[in-house]
Symmetry: C2
């Protein structure tokens, strides 16, 4: 019997076009704390766990952030993001890719470092609703680049994580995929450069979900086609 494969997707920048809104929401939240951080530096941190983000901040601003401030920062960011959610759209081909996997009997899940409330809004934008298997920050002890989110997703799908294809737009996804023992595939749709994704261990890099859908054979999916 052939080993079954499954897909685990990151959400922001991978299925929904929300990275630039996240960047500006973080920048606005930080500025309310008197911290000025350039947008590109925030961009390179989006998708990592909030705790690590705050640790990285310490290096950028030269002083520690208290747990209370860290919590408040994350809350301000979530509020700023939800205020911008009206601008957020699904990435090209995202829904079609998930539908094609479902039709072909390939299980899939979404695993995100985001808290459940922001993630739920992302699923609404995607239009996949409640049927999707969703793992968020609240379901694991450590978010990306720890492997916990992807391991939890594989368990929920009942597929060994070594047989999972993890699709993400950031180096944190690819590092977490590697640590989970899964195959990492990168998408440019979060705004990282191709080389950054390849150096982080991406087996292949595609432009966006539409491009991955066109090349599913390259990652080993035998598609079922509707008549």
């Amino acid at each position: 019997m052939r080993a079954k494969t499954a897909f685990v997707f990151d959400l922001d920048g991978t299925l929904v076009d929300s990275v630039y809104q996240h960047v500006l929401a973080w920048q606005e939240a930080l500025e309310q704390f008197g911290i000025r951080l350039s947008a590109w530096r925030i961009h390179r941190r989006v998708g990592m766990s909030g705790g690590l983000f705050v640790a990285a901040l310490r290096r950028e601003i030269g002083e520690p952030v208290s747990p209370e401030d860290a919590g408040r920062l994350q809350q301000l960011h979530a509020e700023g993001y939800l205020r911008r959610i009206g601008e957020v759209r699904a990435l090209p081909g995202a829904k079609e890719l998930l539908d094609a996997l479902t039709r072909s009997g390939v299980p899939w899940a979404i695993a995100t470092s985001a808290p459940r409330q922001s993630a739920a809004k992302g699923l609404e934008v995607l239009g996949v609703g409640e049927k999707a298997t969703l793992i968020t920050r609240q379901d694991v002890e450590h978010a990306k680049p720890d492997p916990d989110l992807f391991i939890a997703a594989a368990e929920r799908l009942g597929i060994g994580v070594a047989h999972c294809v993890v699709v993400g737009d950031s180096v944190w996804d690819l590092l977490a995929a590697r640590r989970a023992g899964a195959l990492g595939v990168g998408l440019l749709s979060g705004g990282y450069g191709e080389d950054e994704l390849i150096r982080a261990g991406s087996y292949r890099v595609y432009a966006d979900p539409a491009d991955l859908l066109e090349h599913l054979d390259e990652v080993g999916v035998r598609q079922a086609f509707d008549a």
Copy 2:
């Protein structure tokens, strides 16, 4: 006599932290025309001439954009950007870098594909006011990646363009620098990946203006230090 050197800077993403606002302003303008383009694809176009941007759009959306629509699009983008200008800040070290060059007797100019009104707002954010030598879209026939903007800046400074260091955050800056026969230096502060800038011909890549200021010796500047 030693050949004199001069610096020509791009503005958005190089001296001011405005790329992410430009991306969302373009996205909003396009959507008003029923065109949905992913943020990362817009990001990779920011800094090129508006005419080329519209030509690239034709490929993305599969149909030509009329000159009237192109003009209206650019106007909507400019309005959307000016609405976001309150969020825009100078990049770390930008003002200090320009001051250090001035103190060291190194002429410098700013050359941008942006129209004069947006550029003037950027100079306000920078706090360099009217004293700066500024070349904008209106001063040349073709914007980046044509070399016209950088050649015009070198002429205005009275320095041969081959002796100019062109500093920019995008591949369009580096291509235009190469075509002008100037030395291109890349900054990561516009959100491109390092490898993209190196492949486009960047002699060196620095994080942001503060990082370039720390390494001015590497691009051949003998600094005068205040007592």
